[in-house]
């Protein structure tokens, strides 16, 4: 093994030094790398960077768009909620109004009915009064006639003379009145 290493080392040293470069090869590497650098600087890096930038922009644009849509949606929701609240309030107000109106109408009707009934009662009273008056008047005249007739029959004397009859009746009535007045006293 030692022999192997030594032989390899001596052989290598004797014939060529691996650290001494071949100038032509250096030139080829230099030119080759320069060409590669040129292509990379001119085409490869700009194309990749452009793609990266476009992609980043697309993603950021998408996010912005999504955010805008979300904001719009939440605004719409807010508006809808507002409208709903308004509508509820409106409905409540209308219901209240209707209730108040109904109460008003009911009160009016009640008042009207009361007035009507009062009027009807009044009329009835008036009618009764007038009928009573009429009855009193007719009674008075009829009582006179009847009484005269009766008295005439009883007395047997014709009380046909109107003047006399009237006098008798008046006297009778006056008696009645004084009697009742005395009873009242």
């Amino acid at each position: 093994m030692n022999q192997l290493i030594i032989s390899a080392a001596t052989e290598g040293e004797a014939k060529s030094n691996p650290l001494v470069p071949n100038v032509w090869e250096m030139g080829v590497v230099l030119v080759g790398f320069a060409v590669l650098m040129y292509i990379v600087v001119k085409f490869v890096v700009p194309m990749f960077e452009k793609t990266f930038a476009e992609r980043a922009e697309a993603i950021e644009g998408g996010i912005a768009k999504a955010e805008a849509a979300q904001a719009e949606a939440s605004a719409a929701l807010e508006e809808y909620k507002q409208q709903l609240t308004d509508a509820r309030a409106e409905a409540n107000r209308i219901r209240e109004e209707a209730r108040a109106e109904g109460a008003q109408i009911l009160a009016d009707l009640k008042a009207k009915a009361a007035a009507e009934s009062a009027r009807i009662t009044e009329q009835a009273h008036a009618a009764i009064e007038s009928e009573r008056q009429a009855a009193v008047v007719s009674l008075r005249s009829e009582v006179g006639t009847l009484a005269t007739t009766l008295a005439g029959r009883i007395v047997g004397e014709a009380l046909t003379d109107d003047q006399r009859a009237a006098r008798v009746v008046d006297r009778f009535l006056a008696d009645v009145e004084t009697q009742s007045a005395g009873a009242a006293k």
Binding site: L4, S7, P21, N22, L30, M37, I39, V45, E54
Partner: protein, 266 residues
């Protein structure tokens, strides 16, 4: 290692492959040099492969990427975010992404050649390429440092703050040597040495297997299986190191650039 050492003990007829085996005959010889070597062809091929792949991947620029574009974006995003953004940071890290990106994939592809059957030769197993890469990085970070801090940069880079004056005579030379002399050497040799060693091991195992199979002795023939198992394990390790070295080289580049940018806070 025991398996590898066996043939040498058995007979003197086994000659292990050496550094010189790294120099394959030139494809197109010219002049006093080796001519157009396989490494040169591979380097040119790597540029074509990387450029073609990433231009095809990046070309469509779809917001929802297809498979090819996704693979390209993953690869690009790895260098951009995991190396450039994490190490250099700030707003202007993007300026250094092209350099780091090119370095990483240039070295990666040229290393991975070593793990691809038939090609089986990492370009940086020749030191020249590694020198060039480290040299580019060396001048890049020095120029960045001077641009950012002016000539004061050399003071910032060599005189650490908060060190008592009586230690400075020791610290400053050490800083100069470690930052401006040793750094490019280690940066290049790390890449070169790992690739060379990996390639040598694969060659050694290959020739060892060949030698053992040719032996008359059945036990020795059987021993070739051990070498094969070891060779496969080493191959896996090498594949890992090839990718790792590309990452390490790029990571160090990012660290050097970051150090040059923020020399005043170090």
């Amino acid at each position: 290692m025991i398996a590898l050492a066996l043939p040498a003990q058995d007979s003197g007829s086994f000659t292990p492959p050496g550094i010189d085996e790294m120099h394959l005959p030139a494809i197109l010889p010219w002049g006093a040099h080796d001519g157009f070597s396989k490494q040169m062809l591979l380097v040119i091929l790597s540029v074509v492969i990387i450029a073609t792949f990433f231009i095809l991947a990046a070309r469509k620029q779809q917001l929802v990427p297809g498979k090819l574009q996704f693979a390209g974006e993953m690869a690009y995003g790895f260098v951009r975010n995991s190396i450039a953004k994490d190490i250099i940071g700030g707003k202007d890290f993007i300026k250094y992404v092209p350099l780091l990106f090119s370095l990483f994939f240039f070295i990666l592809v040229n290393n991975i050649y070593g793990a691809i059957p038939v090609i089986q030769l990492p370009s940086f197993s020749h030191v020249g390429g590694a020198y060039v890469m480290a040299g580019i990085v060396y001048f890049t970070w020095i120029i960045i440092g001077i641009k950012k801090n002016g000539l004061k940069y050399f003071k910032l880079a060599t005189v650490p703050s908060g060190v008592p004056w009586y230690i400075l005579p020791i610290v400053v030379p050490i800083e100069i040597i470690s930052n401006f002399l040793v750094r490019p050497v280690t940066h290049s040799l790390r890449l070169f040495a790992t690739m060379l060693a990996g390639h040598l091991i694969v060659m050694l195992a290959g020739s060892g297997i060949e030698f053992l199979v040719m032996q008359e002795n059945v036990l020795l023939k059987g021993a070739s299986v051990l070498v094969l198992v070891g060779a496969v394990a080493m191959y896996m390790l090498e594949a890992l190191i090839m990718a790792l070295q590309a990452y390490v080289f790029t990571l160090l580049t990012a660290i050097y650039i970051e150090g040059a940018l923020h020399a005043d806070s170090h």
